[in-house]
């Protein structure tokens, strides 16, 4: 336990009878970049707040660097947090903002020169040195985010907490910042919990993703694991774009399932024949021009152009429509018939309770 940067032990948080977080168990290793991913209201921000001390857990223990911090004041927890809205101090200059964490403790207050040096270092890292004399409201969104990062960096904390730090930025800036954050993490090597609802951020940045829903951990694993082997319907639906197709089906015995009139071969064992199942098919896994595999034929009833690809909607007479990504786009395909094939390993099976088979 002492090796973990952050360790959660049966942590729960409830407001009255409403459970926001239930029995949360997790260990974050030093240097790890852990992403908490989930829709809003899933409890991921609450977890950050409990680590930082803004909220107290209802039960369970939180350890930072091997020390139980449940009852420690936020100022003594040695964690730095970057907020979604940056939480810059509007009445202080950029320099004063970054310097603030160094000056709050009289006992450990560095000298003026040292303060200056450390602020400049932190500002250098996030490339904001030229803005030190400005006030926050004179900065752009991206610059503000950098200031917030610098303020977190400057005090050299054991743990970084980031609460949707990029969600207020426009798409382009978000791309840049994402890369810079990865670089920054690599450089500092500090354990980080990063909270987001954006799967792209999670997939690109995380060394480990913890997917949460309704206060519970749905799956924990590397980006590849959660994408390729989603543990349940929620994770499968939440991760991947376009969203996975879910079709009601039943087992046809052994490694085959029956969806409407179509029978598909699967890698996993579907169980005894007749067992009700849900199968998941990623739109990106469908192949148009291959003869082999599980073929599904139907009529193209819609085609949405997205740039390089098109998302086509296929009516194959099954329980629901099927959306498939297709490279290239031709308007006149609407109304024509098409056949799509799926490799058996790309057919995800979920049991009645939504758990992966």
């Amino acid at each position: 336990m002492t090796n973990h940067a952050i360790h959660f032990e049966q942590v729960s948080k409830s407001y009255g009878s409403f459970d926001v977080v239930e029995n949360f168990e997790l260990s974050v290793q030093p240097g790890e970049f852990l992403v908490l991913l989930g829709p809003s209201g899933c409890g991921k921000s609450t977890i950050l707040k409990m680590v930082s001390g803004i909220e107290a857990p209802s039960s369970g223990e939180i350890h930072v660097n091997g020390k139980m911090v449940n009852y420690t004041l936020p100022r003594n927890r040695d964690v730095a947090m970057v907020f979604q809205n940056y939480a810059l101090y509007p009445h202080k200059s950029v320099f004063e903002n970054i310097a603030y964490p160094l000056l709050t403790r009289r006992a450990s207050r560095p000298s003026k020169a040292e303060t200056e040096q450390r602020v400049r270092e932190a500002a250098d890292i996030v490339e904001i040195t030229s803005q030190l004399d400005k006030y926050p409201d004179a900065l752009s969104g991206g610059q503000r985010q950098r200031v917030a990062l610098a303020r977190a960096i400057v005090r050299d904390p054991a743990v970084f907490l980031m609460d949707e730090p990029l969600s207020n930025l426009d798409a382009q800036l978000r791309d840049t910042m994402r890369q810079q954050l990865i670089a920054l993490h690599r450089r500092l090597g500090k354990a980080t919990i990063y909270v987001t609802h954006d799967q792209l951020e999670a997939m690109t940045m995380a060394s480990r993703i913890v997917v949460m829903n309704e206060g519970k951990v749905q799956q924990s694993g590397t980006p590849e694991e959660v994408f390729q082997r989603p543990a349940n319907l929620f994770v499968a639906g939440f991760i991947g774009h376009p969203r996975m197709n879910f079709l009601t089906a039943h087992s046809a015995g052994g490694n085959s399932v029956q969806v409407g009139k179509v029978t598909l071969r699967t890698q996993a064992d579907a169980g005894p024949a007749g067992r009700p199942l849900t199968i998941g098919l990623r739109p990106t896994d469908g192949q148009y021009d291959r003869a082999e595999g599980n073929a599904i034929s139907g009529r193209i009833i819609q085609s949405e152009f997205t740039g390089a690809d098109a998302i086509q909607t296929l009516d194959f007479g099954g329980p629901s429509l099927l959306r498939i990504r297709k490279q290239g786009h031709r308007k006149d395909e609407i109304g024509t018939d098409a056949t799509v094939t799926f490799h058996p390993k790309d057919i995800h099976l979920f049991d009645e309770n939504g758990a992966r088979i």
Binding site: A56, S59, N70
Partner: protein, 299 residues
């Protein structure tokens, strides 16, 4: 993991620390609050069962003061006058302040100058306001009567007429108070979201409709605060009555606070004054509560 008991102990410690911090911040305000507000209210209640107490020792008289309160016609009259006064002064000052706020909001140049001039009377102690109105209301030299005489030929007896004295007091208070409410309403208007107005204008809503369908409903929180605050302040009307009419003529301007003052200091009856004070506290609390409920329901 620590045991539940240990957790409970630690949690209690954290709670105590949290409460100590909060109460350290609250302490100065609480001390003054208890000493100079809560305790005096309790003392009022005690005094209402006593007589004497200022120069001679207090004596317990049971319900005598309360009995007297409910049989004293002047008490009824003072409450009536106070309420009637508020019913005149509050709507008048609100309507005037709203017109002024809308006007200030319309003009482009000189806004600050007008604001300052309109606010100026609010800064004056009512004693000085009353002194000025001695001039303004004078039957021969007062500007009001100079104008009225030019129109009707007869000066108006503002403070001597039983039916006009209370409205005249209200007029002085409106003169003094309009600036305050104007600025309050103006601040309210200016903090309304601009987009809504653009949208309304695109929808073809004229200034009148924009005012009644957007401005007024959006200012509801401001009005709520204003009504409560105005009620509390106006039900305590004292200074202008004291200076301008001293309750006359024929008790037409006797207000509750004026009567409290008279009982305490002119008649040396602190017990009776305390009883009346308590009646006033209850009256103000009741009216404020009614207003709060009405506003909450409509919201």
């Amino acid at each position: 993991m620590l045991s539940t008991t240990e957790h409970r102990k630690l949690r209690l410690k954290a709670r105590i620390r949290q409460n100590l911090t909060a109460y350290a911040f609250l302490a100065p305000a609480l001390i003054f609050f208890v000493l100079f507000l809560a305790w005096p209210v309790v003392a009022l209640l005690i005094q209402s069962f006593q007589t004497g107490g200022i120069m001679s020792p207090a004596k317990y008289v049971g319900l005598e003061n309360w009995r007297q309160t409910f049989t004293d016609p002047l008490v009824v009259k003072s409450i009536r006058n106070t309420v009637v006064y508020s019913l005149m002064a509050i709507p008048a000052v609100f309507i005037i302040a709203m017109i002024l706020a809308l006007s200030l909001n319309t003009v482009r140049f000189g806004q600050n100058t007008f604001k300052t001039i309109i606010y100026y009377p609010t800064l004056q102690p009512i004693l000085l306001a009353a002194l000025m109105f001695t001039f303004v209301l004078h039957q021969d030299f007062g500007i009001l009567n100079i104008i009225l005489r030019a129109i009707t030929g007869e000066p108006v007896n503002f403070l001597g007429n039983r039916n006009l004295a209370l409205p005249t007091i209200a007029m002085v208070e409106v003169w003094k108070g309009a600036g305050f409410w104007t600025l309050l309403f103006l601040a309210g208007i200016q903090s309304l979201p601009r987009d809504l107005y653009h949208a309304a204008e695109l929808d073809g809503a004229g200034p009148g409709r924009r005012f009644f369908q957007l401005t007024l409903p959006l200012l509801k929180p401001t009005f709520f605060f204003s009504f409560i605050f105005a009620t509390i302040v106006n039900l305590q009307i004292f200074d202008s009555v004291f200076v301008l009419t001293d309750g006359g003529p024929v008790n037409a301007t006797v207000t509750t606070t004026w009567y409290i003052y008279r009982s305490l200091f002119t008649f040396n009856e602190p017990g009776y004054g305390a009883t009346l004070s308590f009646v006033l506290v209850i009256l103000v609390l009741a009216l404020t509560a009614v207003q709060t409920i009405l506003f909450r329901e409509r919201r």
